[in-house]
């Protein structure tokens, strides 16, 4: 097919115009008072101007809609809308006109035309119009290919194509962080907190209509981005409902493993799928964009081979008075362990009991409860340290200091061990 347009004068003209939302015309108010030289002239001029707001001519933002004057930017997740017009520039009737619009990206080619049937005839000065919409799902270069084929009144079949190239840019930068809450003392479930940081990397403000986390079947989600007040929760962002260019916002979600998965969660290792972030935003006059992240993954906290957690501990104790705690030791490895517990005193914490005793064999996935007695000799917030568990099979010792913290996990302040000696 010869697409050498330069040599051929075509009877039809193809025009394409991107249809972003229109903009509101703004005025520049220049006013004066009656006693000034112009008197009421400036006021009259503003009243006669059709684009000013009648009764409030000093208001800059008018009501007149102006069509887009340039292509603008287009971002992933937005909808690309375009007007395609084929106009009969000639003086003869043209027959069998077929207009096809395709969008070509680096990975695929999509047909966008509303109708695929030919128009029987087009009289002079008439046109065939089509408005196409396409939700942009890829970044990078896109090419809109418009092909027109028609038959002249003399039976000659002609064809031409036009190409329009545009770039699709990335609108948002999303970073996620996971926080693992240490198990609640009364339950065995582990909560995971997800912090999503979203940055607007476009050049205009964005209204975040919805940012939600769609969890996988393992988890239930609570979103923590509204402050409960009356019926409608008020957003934690207050009045600042939109993101200026380059601004960042943080969203917080709490994920709880569902009951049936709860037990497993404690010993799950490796990568688990948490869910997807679903983001919907709007810009000028409601122009909408929508994106989903891929499945967010979380590395399960490595508890190492043995996990030590506290089942019972009092909030406050008296100085130099012994009190009881209960530890839960879980074997997170694949092999049976034979454990020996040793207790070392620190400056503030003194253990009571026998150090170096055998706890017995512990099979993989099993756990045992270990009651211990300690007292504190120093006032204030203390953390419990000095527990050592040794696996006699492998002759490996695991140290537990600041017990609330355990290996490579992150703890929230609420689950720090609080221990007030008074």
């Amino acid at each position: 097919m010869d697409v050498n347009q330069a040599k051929q004068e075509h009877l039809l003209a193809l025009k394409v115009m991107r249809l972003t939302k229109p903009t509101l015309f703004t005025n520049l108010p220049v006013t004066c008072e009656e006693r000034d030289l112009p008197g009421d002239l400036f006021g009259q001029l503003m009243k006669q101007d059709p684009s000013t707001i009648k009764g409030a001519e000093s208001l800059m933002l008018g009501e007149m809609l102006t069509l887009p004057q340039n292509f603008g930017n287009i971002f992933l997740g937005e909808t690309f809308s375009s007007y395609i017009s084929v106009h009969n520039d000639s003086t003869q009737i043209v027959k069998d006109i077929l207009v096809k619009a395709d969008l070509q990206t680096s990975s695929q080619r999509l047909n966008l035309s509303a109708s695929n049937s030919a128009v029987a005839e087009l009289k002079p000065e008439c046109c065939i119009d089509d408005v196409i919409h396409h939700e942009v799902k890829e970044i990078g270069t896109h090419i809109l290919v418009c092909a027109v084929s028609y038959t002249t009144q003399f039976g000659e079949k002609l064809y031409f194509r036009k190409f329009f190239k545009f770039q699709v840019l990335k609108p948002l930068d999303v970073k996620t962080k996971f926080y693992n809450a240490e198990s609640d003392l009364s339950s065995v479930t582990d909560e995971v907190f997800l912090e999503a940081q979203i940055q607007n990397i476009t050049t205009s403000p964005m209204f975040m209509e919805k940012v939600s986390l769609e969890p996988t079947i393992m988890y239930n989600v609570t979103e923590l981005n509204t402050v409960a007040s009356g019926d409608d929760g008020e957003s934690t962002f207050g009045k600042m409902s939109y993101l200026q260019p380059m601004d960042t916002r943080q969203y917080l979600y709490c994920l709880k493993p569902k009951a049936e998965y709860a037990e497993k969660a404690g010993v799950i290792k490796g990568v688990t799928m948490i869910g997807k972030l679903d983001i919907v935003w709007r810009t000028n006059l409601g122009e909408r964009g929508r994106l989903q992240t891929s499945q967010l993954q979380r590395m399960a906290p490595g508890y190492g081979d043995i996990r030590l957690s506290l089942e019972m501990i009092p909030d406050t104790v008296n100085l130099e008075e012994p009190f009881d705690i209960v530890c839960k030791i879980t074997n997170c490895s694949e092999r049976t362990m034979d454990l020996v517990v040793e207790m070392c005193n620190t400056r503030s914490i003194h253990w009571c009991g026998i150090s170096g005793r055998q706890l017995g064999k512990l099979s993989p996935g099993a756990s045992l409860l270990l009651p211990l007695t300690i007292f504190s000799s120093v006032q204030g917030l203390q953390s419990i340290s000095g527990l050592r568990l040794t696996d006699t099979f492998l002759k490996r010792t695991y140290e537990y200091d600041d017990i609330a913290q355990n290996g490579p996990t992150v703890e929230l302040c609420t689950s720090y061990l609080t221990l007030f000696a008074s």
């Binding site: 025009k15 394409v16 115009m17 991107r18 939302k21 015309f25 520049l28 108010p29 220049v30 006013t31 030289l37 112009p38 008197g39 002239l41 400036f42 001029l45 059709p50 208001l59 933002l61 008018g62 009501e63 007149m64 809609l65 102006t66 004057q69 340039n70 992933l76 997740g77 007007y83 017009s85 106009h87 070509q104 680096s106 990975s107 695929q108 080619r109 008439c126 046109c127 119009d129 970044i139 270069t141 290919v145 036009k162 190409f163 190239k165 770039q167 990335k170 999303v174 970073k175 962080k177 912090e195 403000p205 209204f207 935003w281 810009t283 000028n284 006059l285 891929s294 590395m299 992150v410």
Partner: protein
């Protein structure tokens, strides 16, 4: 050539350069290094990911010839969607830079009559102004006469000078006829810096597109064709020949001794000369010649110099107090920086204005005169003064809100517009609707709807027609934001049932038609309106829409645009912004 690539790899071998190639991560990308956002323990490895936005693995390129290099269609890519021309919002007039020396048109035998007899004087400040004393010599008691006129003057001219200026004015008052020596840096010595702006863009276009004969037929009022006085000036302003008007102000100011090249030379000021400056600078602003305005404003400083006060001229204005600078000129001066990309400076100046207005209102409420002096005002005068200063304060707040909007500080802008309602309660409907539109611009459709509902609640049945149209317009904008162009169009038509000549509704209805794929209809409607009612429709915004649609319709849009040019030529003055015709 087969440009086949291994699957699951980003196709960076394609000729197309990716503008944003770095971040389209696929699932296989490694995690990025963490950034320090939340403090956490050192031995913890936080996890971050950049999003994989559902991008499929890139498949092999299509077998279409567009993938082949060199001889490929890449070379023939038509980059121009609609040959789109970037139209900036404010025209960038190159005339701003044109600082041509003044033609000595004064030699042309023009008879320049100065506006008032007593202002023809050039010269030093020491000379007493004998002529003005003559005005009062006719009455027995000049002071009583002055008093009866002075109430209105006093409240309008009241101002609170800065401390330094106050000191100078006091020293002038204590030495009757010869003002104390004041450093020239604290005096206002303005002069024209631009001359002969009378370039008629419409005529230029006519010469280029319609030929010399047609261009000759163009008739506009020029500075030469009117009376060389304030009356002539007003004619030029009302007929929208603002460039000619600017030139005329130049001539009248020259007669005051403040013409081209006089900047920096000692002079004296009167209310009339300052009003002329105000008109000149206001017209520059209306013509979007902001740099011109800034340069000529410069000698006026911050409008607080001692020689801009009546007290500085005790012989010319005996007993008069206050500032000769019109309040509107102060407002203009404060607003100007925002149009020169210095919105913060504009805000600072506007805040200063606001502070003084509030101080004056405070004085009035305490029973003092505007400037804080212990003058007793009658109840009537006090009320009139309060009314005046409240409306001035409202006007300042409008300027602040507009400036904040320009800066895109939407939250503060909305708050400021809201607070204007207490000063201008009769504009409540327009202000709330305007705020609603701001939220639509941000994209917060829900909030906009809340404001529009507020408007609707406040509008009772049987109220003015404008309220009903306002409610309908708001509704139409909401439909627009929901992509419901059909309903938006229908709602604009409803406005037209009530107010058939409403230009905004007509324009907006036509715009909706375009989005519905009905170009011809839309064009027909707008064209018809322009022909039937050019007064309303030969407006920048409508013509932008019309010419845009002409370009979309066919390649031969130039003829239609020329027809528009002809329509413009016989009606519009020299201030018409020809960019909207897209004939450049």
């Amino acid at each position: 050539m087969d440009a086949r690539e291994a699957p699951s790899q980003r196709p960076d071998t394609l000729d197309i350069t990716m503008e944003d190639g770095s971040n389209a991560a696929s699932a296989g990308d490694s995690l990025e290094a963490p950034s320090n956002l939340v403090p956490f323990k050192d031995n913890i490895l936080p996890q971050e990911e950049s999003i994989d936005l559902g991008g499929a693995e890139f498949a092999t390129p299509h077998e279409d010839s567009s993938a082949t290099p060199s001889e490929s269609l890449m070379d023939r890519l038509n980059d121009q969607m609609m040959e789109s021309v970037m139209i900036s919002d404010s025209p960038n007039n190159s005339e701003e830079e044109d600082v041509a020396p003044m033609d000595s048109f004064l030699d042309g035998g023009e008879d320049l009559k100065p506006a008032r007899e007593d202002e023809g004087k050039e010269g030093s400040q020491e000379q007493p102004f004998n002529q003005l004393q003559a005005v009062f010599s006719g009455t027995d008691d000049p002071f009583a006469t002055a008093l009866s006129l002075s109430e209105v003057d006093r409240r309008h001219d009241a101002w609170l000078p800065s401390e330094e200026t106050r000191k100078v004015l006091i020293s002038v008052a204590t030495q009757q006829y010869s003002p104390a020596y004041v450093e020239s840096s604290r005096l206002t010595m303005p002069g024209l810096k631009f001359d002969n702006l009378q370039v008629d863009a419409v005529k230029d276009l006519m010469l280029r597109f319609l030929g010399e004969q047609a261009a000759m037929k163009r008739q506009v009022l020029t500075a030469n064709s009117v009376e060389q006085s304030v009356i002539g000036l007003k004619q030029l302003v009302s007929s929208k020949n603002w460039r000619a008007a600017v030139d005329l102000t130049g001539r009248l100011l020259t007669a005051h001794g403040q013409g081209y090249g006089k900047a920096g030379q000692p002079t004296s000021h009167t209310t009339d000369s300052l009003q002329l400056w105000f008109v000149r600078l206001a017209l520059f602003t209306k013509l979007n010649l902001f740099q011109n305005a800034e340069l000529e404003f410069e000698p006026f400083g911050n409008l607080d110099q001692p020689d801009l006060y009546y007290e500085y001229y005790p012989t010319v204005y005996p007993g008069k107090r206050g500032s000769m600078v019109p309040f509107s000129m102060r407002l203009l001066h404060a607003e100007l920086p925002q149009y020169l990309a210095k919105p913060q400076e504009a805000l600072d100046r506007l805040h200063h204005l606001e502070t003084i207005c509030l101080a004056i209102l405070d004085n009035l409420e305490k029973g003092l005169a505007e400037d804080g002096s212990m003058v007793t005002l009658t109840q009537e005068n006090r009320q009139a003064s309060l009314k005046l200063w409240r409306s001035r304060l409202g006007r300042v707040m409008y300027s602040m809100a507009n400036c904040l909007l320009l800066m895109k500080d939407y939250i503060l802008a909305v708050e400021t517009y809201h607070s204007i309602i207490q000063y201008e309660p009769q504009q409540r409907v327009q202000l709330l609707s305007g705020i609603g539109r701001i939220f639509l611009q941000i994209g917060d459709v829900k909030m906009a709807e809340r404001y529009f509902q507020d408007v609707e609640k406040g509008c009772q049945k049987g109220g003015p027609v404008t309220n009903t149209t306002c409610v309908l317009m708001n509704r139409a904008f909401v439909y627009l934001s929901q992509n419901n162009y059909t309903e938006a169009h229908a709602t604009f038509l409803e406005v037209l049932k009530i107010d058939p000549k409403n230009p905004v509704a007509n324009n907006n209805a036509a715009v909706c038609l375009l989005y519905l794929g009905r170009l011809k209809e839309s064009l027909g409607q707008l064209e018809g309106l322009v022909q039937q009612d050019p007064t309303s429709y030969l407006h920048e915004s409508v013509l932008f829409n019309l010419t845009t649609m002409y370009e979309l319709e066919s390649s031969r849009s130039t003829q239609k645009k020329q027809a528009l040019l002809e329509a413009v030529a016989c009606r519009e003055g020299d201030s018409f912004n020809t960019q909207c015709l897209k004939l450049a």
